[in-house]
């Protein structure tokens, strides 16, 4: 046993050396017009040697270490804890949501301008996460091209404002409905496909939309993108220093206060907050309604659900369309926040990040999605000084999360009714 362990540890250490030394220790560098191979710094070699040693020792004493960890885990109150009783859990989630929303309302008045702006981005990702949660978490349809609907929303607003001078409030419903229509039309043929085929087709679809936006230069301005997208107004009041659209007044003149640029940022934040709460509320309702139940039924067992009379197409389409609708919502807000959109904002990585939010949050769980959206957006910002390593850490965190806590931050548990044991067979009419 020990000999075998030793052999295995040696092997693992060797593999570590093989995968780290050539890439880290030998650098290709362009010197003038030719490529030269240069050695790395001494500290890199020390690092590689350390990694090899650590892997070797860990593998050698793996049973002991893991055993030790197991005992530590037993001390951890989170592991063997009984799941919260249902009533308590529901109450907990409700209280947490209310607290988050309340906190979010006061946030702009205590935080700096940059922090409010970042929080707006977080809210956009929350809307996206909640929307995709319907498709992936609840209906179990793996969508890797969610960013396409986001792009449709953003471009609808961009194009409408550019060609017809539509305002934010007119474009918001149009963008969302158009994105939903796209979801519907595309969902129709595609939803017959199962699982991973659906994943690759949606991925391809997302890419097609982005490439079309880039290529249809006459309509979308191609790679130049669309600029000068207006900010939202409040009953015809603009928040800029100068009024841009004729007939509008400016916020600081109406209230006779000195112009302050943070008003605009805060206003946009509050609008986004309202829309995020709206999204949360609508989807929360939908989950409880028959349509929401049927999403989950189909996810759990398609054949059983169909034999109970659920229309597969209708159920899947409704999830797809509703998900797309909220992506369109988020897209419109994003366009307004940026003031400028171009196809490069809608790449596959964006879909992957939203998907990561849904999965990290615990698929299906709304509170989890909100927490995950906050974490995924803010962590890279906090690590801005170490920006070189930001994406490396992001990737590693995704893997580690999946390995250690695959159920997500706050896994979803369905609301259900407990049967009383003593009156077996009789349902509690709660």
């Amino acid at each position: 046993m020990i000999a075998q362990n030793f052999r295995h540890a040696l092997f693992c250490a060797f593999i570590t050396l093989v995968i780290s030394y050539p890439i880290l220790g030998l650098n290709l560098e362009a010197q003038g017009i030719s490529i030269k191979l240069t050695g790395a710094e001494t500290q890199t070699y020390v690092g590689i040697a350390l990694a090899v040693l650590i892997v070797f020792l860990f593998q050698l004493f793996r049973p002991a270490i893991l055993g030790g960890l197991g005992r530590v885990k037993a001390l951890n109150p989170l592991v063997d804890r009984q799941p919260m009783p249902q009533e308590k859990r529901i109450r907990f989630e409700r209280v947490a949501l209310v607290l988050i929303v309340l906190g979010a309302m006061f946030w702009p008045f205590i935080a700096s301008r940059g922090a409010v702006d970042l929080a707006t981005l977080v809210l956009i990702y929350i809307i996206l996460g909640l929307g995709l949660n319907v498709v992936v978490g609840l209906a179990g349809l793996l969508d890797l091209g969610y960013v396409a609907f986001y792009a449709v929303g953003a471009y609808t607003f961009g194009l409408l404002s550019q060609y017809y001078g539509f305002s934010f409030w007119m474009s918001l419903p149009i963008g969302a409905v158009l994105a939903a229509a796209f979801g519907f039309v595309l969902g129709f043929p595609v939803l017959r496909l199962r699982g991973d085929y659906l994943a690759i087709v949606t991925l391809g679809f997302g890419e097609i939309i982005r490439i079309l936006l880039n290529n249809l230069t006459d309509l979308t301005n191609g790679p130049d993108g669309i600029g000068g997208i207006p900010d939202p107004t409040l009953f015809g009041m603009e928040f800029g220093r100068r009024v841009k659209v004729e007939g509008n007044t400016s916020f600081h003149e109406v209230f006779n206060i000195p112009y302050d640029s943070t008003h605009k940022v805060i206003f946009l934040y509050l609008i986004t907050l309202i829309l995020a709460v709206f999204t949360l509320f609508i989807i929360r309702r939908l989950i409880r309604m028959p349509v929401g139940r049927s999403w989950e039924a189909l996810r759990e067992d398609e054949i059983a659900a169909r034999s109970l009379g659920l229309s597969r197409t209708a159920v899947k389409l409704s999830a797809f369309t509703i998900g797309a609708f909220f992506a369109g919502f988020a897209g419109t807000i994003f366009a307004s926040k940026q003031g400028f959109i171009s196809p490069e904002s809608f790449v596959f990585l964006e879909s992957a990040i939203v998907l990561a939010i849904v999965v990290l949050g615990g698929m299906g769980s709304q509170l989890g999605v909100i927490l995950a959206a906050i974490a995924v957006t803010i962590l890279p910002e906090l690590a801005r000084e170490f920006s070189e390593y930001r994406m490396l850490v992001f990737g590693a965190a995704m893997v580690l999360m999946m390995v250690w806590r695959p159920q997500g931050l706050l896994p979803m548990t369905r609301v259900h009714i407990n049967l009383k044991k003593q009156e077996a067979g009789v349902t509690d009419h709660a």
Binding site: V18, M363, Y389
Partner: protein, 309 residues
């Protein structure tokens, strides 16, 4: 006449890239066939293969006036060793612990791994495009070229790609159909639980699948890196996406399907650029994928799925 030559040239261009896609697609399709997951990090393994072979080629050219076939062979062997170790490690670290979880969990883990590996190489080697020397020069004329008409060429590099792909594919087919491990692979892909009950070490087979896929990707990395002329940390992702599309196109899980899918995709791309416009190359390849899946939901050579109750 010269139109025929033009057609021929575009066909050759398409088949060249297509065979390389096929080599990468094998990795996707074998992994999917056995454990039913999309190994998103596979494109990165291919990219690492290309980097390692360039590192070896650059290193050898500096130290000794080398005989080119030997340099290539050494580079190929090193690339295969590093890539397959990488494939092994990725499977151990990111996939084995999450095996058997919900379908999305390994997928997210794979996307995370892909981002991680991209940035690992980016940090170690920089983000620049690095030129890859062309060691196999020259070619054969296939006709045309008289009084200013179009002349079609088959370069030795393209020929090498065809031959190496053919060797790898034949070798793989023989391995799968004849060897003991190959037979076990087929058994595991049909029913993982049953074959483990019958005494097959399924973990070993799954590891073998990753290693084989990674080795083929390394071969593709060397060949395509040299054929194209430059490499960068991001190019694995795009190629991986294409190869995955090829695997699905051919019917994921099926090895002949991956070959066919790769060739179809390569030729479709080449003809789109040649007769339409390069701008719509990716639109056509993804559009083709969607169309084929609509009419043949399991790909060109995939077996129709039976819904079991």
């Amino acid at each position: 006449m010269h139109d025929v030559m033009y057609f021929l040239q575009q066909l050759i261009n398409g088949l060249t890239v297509g065979s390389a896609y096929a080599l990468i697609a094998i990795g996707y399709t074998m992994v999917y066939g056995i454990i039913g997951m999309i190994n998103f990090a596979h494109g990165e393994i291919y990219m690492i293969g290309a980097y390692v072979s360039l590192i070896v080629i650059t290193g050898l050219a500096v130290t000794s006036p080398a005989w080119i076939p030997l340099v290539l062979l050494v580079a190929l062997i090193c690339a295969i060793i590093v890539s397959s170790s990488m494939g092994w490690a990725v499977e151990r670290i990111a996939y084995r612990p999450v095996r058997g979880q919900h379908r999305l969990i390994p997928l997210i883990s794979a996307i995370g791994m892909s981002i991680f590996l991209q940035n690992y190489v980016h940090l170690a080697q920089g983000s620049r495009n690095i030129g890859f020397p062309l060691l196999i020069e020259g070619g054969i004329s296939l006709g045309g070229g008289e009084d200013g008409t179009f002349q079609a060429n088959l370069s030795y590099m393209q020929l090498t790609i065809f031959i190496v792909t053919l060797i790898c594919m034949t070798g793989l087919s023989l391995f799968i159909s004849r060897s003991k491990t190959g037979r076990a692979c087929r058994a595991v892909s049909q029913d993982l639980k049953m074959s483990s009950l019958l005494g097959i070490d399924t973990n070993r087979i799954i590891t073998a699948t990753f290693v084989i896929g990674a080795s083929l990707a390394a071969v593709a990395g060397l060949l395509l890196g040299m054929y194209y002329g430059s490499i960068d940390p991001l190019f694995g992702f795009i190629a991986g996406l294409k190869a995955f599309t090829a695997a699905v196109l051919g019917g994921i899980g099926s090895i002949p399907g991956a070959m066919l899918g790769g060739l179809v995709l390569g030729v479709a791309e080449s003809f789109t650029s040649g007769y339409l416009s390069s701008e719509y190359k990716d639109v056509v390849s993804f559009g083709l994928l969607i169309l084929i899946l609509l009419f043949r939901p399991t790909g060109l050579l995939g077996k129709p799925e039976v819904e079991k109750i």
